[in-house]
Symmetry: C2
Subunit: 172 residues, 2 copies
């Protein structure tokens, strides 16, 4: 699939994804490395916690969502590079055996004021389980390359991007 | 260390953490599983991207931050359970060999209106590299248990928490 440039995005577009199953073993091993709390590590210990049973770390859900997004049809030119979040929450816990997929909707598209070679799109990305219930809602602004115009040929339009200090450089 | 209840937290308190070094191998293996994009997988491919070189996935930084938080002195009773984010950004990329630590500051403390056994604290958690530069800023609201009072003894004050649907039940 060819990448999409800023000019290819429009408000209202939706993009689906494949599906990933999360199993108990990986919930526990992810938690052991990154989020070693009883409700992510042990079914018995999890029962009397706020989760009422073993649940994936929210950061595991977020990481799997990223995998689904990268492999989804969204495919922004330059990659998926976040420039900030408007919303980020986990409405329901993710349980062993859950099958996750992502639905993304483009809710804003605009050129960058400070970097002519770039634009910004805002995307609402909802991670759903096998019952179509939302387990994560993320509203993220992504940096997207603009299509090179005839005017740009011969100029290094990527040069502006290369001096950016990172994904969250506060582009406007 | 004994856990801290809502009554133990106050605006202005700060909590440090240990330190974690992130190496090139784990940057790439995390990315291969969760964020398979060239700037997280391959030094040569990363050079001409917005990152200008190999950088950790932001989700890897977020997950390591969680590890540092869980092992930090913050220790809220009931565990670190997020109820929403006010701010979440990555001001600078994380590079192979970086050593990360976390500084947390309590910026709000309040009882829950809907769940008498719980309260909410808002914490600004800044992830810093070995040069004391912020690589992640997270402002998160955490659910914290209240200390059982004499009045509560004999009542199951945790019962209210157990029926919560998850970390993001929209406690107020």
């Amino acid at each position: 699939m060819t990448p999409r440039y800023l000019e290819d995005f429009a408000v209202g577009q939706t993009y689906g994804s494949g599906c990933i199953r999360i199993d108990e073993h990986r919930i526990k091993s992810f938690a052991a490395e990154f989020d070693p709390q009883p409700f992510h590590l042990n079914e018995d210990a999890a029962r009397d916690t706020i989760f009422g049973g073993l649940a994936a770390s929210g950061w595991h859900t977020a990481a799997l969502t990223m995998r689904l997004l990268v492999e989804s049809e969204l495919k922004p030119a330059g990659g998926i590079v976040g420039a900030g979040f408007d919303e980020f929450r986990w409405p329901l816990p993710v349980r062993p055996g859950d099958e996750l997929r992502v639905e993304s909707e483009v809710i804003d598209v605009r050129p960058s004021k400070s970097r002519p070679a770039q634009g910004l799109i805002k995307v609402r990305t909802t991670t759903l389980n096998q019952d179509d219930k939302a387990v994560q809602v993320l509203v993220v602004t992504l940096v997207v390359q603009r299509r090179r115009t005839q005017h740009d040929v011969g100029r290094d339009v990527s040069g502006g991007a290369r001096i950016a200090i990172g994904p969250m450089a506060g582009s406007t």
